[in-house]
Amino acid sequence: MNTQYDVLVVGAGIAGEESALKLADMGFRVLLIEKEPSIGGKMILLSKVFPTLDCAACITTPKVSETARHPNITLLTLTEADSIIKENNGSFSVTLKKHPRYVIEKDCTGCQECETVCPSIVDDQFQFNLVARKAVYIPFNIANPRVALIDIENCMLCGSCEQKCPSNAIDFSQKEEIIQVKVNAVIVATGFNLFDPTLIPRYGFGKYKNVITSMQMERELAPTRPFNNILRPSDGKTPDKIAYIFCTGSRDQTCGNAICSQVCCMYSTKQAQLLMGALPMADITMYYINIRAFGKGFNEFYMQAKDMGAKYVKGKVASVSEKENGNLILRYEDIATGKVTESEHDLVVLSVGLLANPAITSVFKDETLEIDASKYIKQPELLQSPALTSIKGVFVAGTATAPMDIPDTIMSAGAAAAETSGYLKQLS
């Protein structure tokens, strides 16, 4: 493997892919690393996008394929940056940690024969734990690379997959690799974390089976869904009275995230429209604080959801309790009437917020990658050069800077690529 690159891009979600592609198209040699077994980030797991209702997979998979095949991009999955040290000449010495897949990537055909004989099952994290997967598995149907991996922590070490594999791709002798590279610039595209709703116990997530997150609903709505249709997890019933609780873990200082997550109003509105299409008889009620429909076409999209029959109730939900039949009672203050009210639903979706993912900051050893008050990567020149960070030669793209939607992420990633290109030209 080459040890010299122009740019290291950390994170292969849509921001990392876009930055890598733009720079690679300009002729720069890019090393793109991703800690997950597949590239595509969170977008590749979505059902559709707002406000156009285009299929998310249809938009993202061509970009994913282009990224994986570009001659100027070297892609490493299951790889994390361990340390990044700035040298006196301005370049960066990077130590990478590549975790073993226990499958020889070039030999695996993605036939999934190994899965049929694996005796071990575990929660499928790519279906947000709604179903199980095998210990040897392909992350999801449109994963790239479409190559199996072995979850060694949950493996029975029976060797059945190795015996079954028709292309002899299983290799339990693989070990963690330490890779040293030199790069001239770094783009941080490490995205966001989702809010963990167990931190708001009064909503009952993790306790009541029919309280799910918006990402779980996103999977239920996707063509590669975990269930055969939209069902509630407690008993497989088709829900007919669904509630959304907006701002779960956003705009709420009590749970440590005071800022708006920018996308929850619109992704919930999108899901409401998709649900009304899939379950025409279902009542959908949206409990919100304020509707933030600020982007191009967003207000029209919101009005469309109301016209289709979604009911918007202004009021913060105080608590959720469960009845014997699995239905849920929401207690809330209806702002329109000023009364504390209760209503019954058979499925509750928590519109969870976006949180910063500041883990990358600890990787920079000799200089400080500064973060802002919300723990996103600080942009010292936000208005003039939003891709700059506190370290010269390190740039930032997408939701590593703040919550944002997909078009803004693509624009931010393009800006980071342009800024990086200018920097590299100056260096040379």
């Binding site: 709604l130 179903v131 997967r133 190795e162 299983i170 339990f172 997890p233 407690s234 008993d235 497989g236």
Partner: protein
């Protein structure tokens, strides 16, 4: 003659299977057998399967959906109230 290299033996020298993984495996084998057994006679809804097998309903949903994902169970139809799907063994 089996000509495949057994790299599994290499990792077995340094790793042991955790008790949790073994327990989960046992649980899955037992539940899978129970669910597939009850579906041998006719297609059933999740609450019916749970009642027949004495499994908790939520657990039945999880494992039945997993069996559907693995291609062992499929949808036969929906009940008269359009509430619960009926699942049957995939031939």
């Amino acid at each position: 003659m089996n000509t495949k290299t057994r790299t599994i033996n290499i990792i077995k020298e340094t790793r042991k299977v955790s008790a949790h993984v073994t327990e989960e495996r046992k649980k899955y084998v037992k539940i899978r057998k129970t669910i597939l057994e009850t579906l041998k006679t006719e297609g059933k809804t999740i609450p019916q399967i749970a009642a027949d097998t004495n499994l908790p309903v939520a657990e039945t949903t999880y494992y039945l959906m997993t069996l559907q994902k693995f291609g062992e169970v499929t949808v036969e139809g929906i009940d008269d109230m359009d509430e619960y799907y009926i699942y049957k063994l995939k031939k």
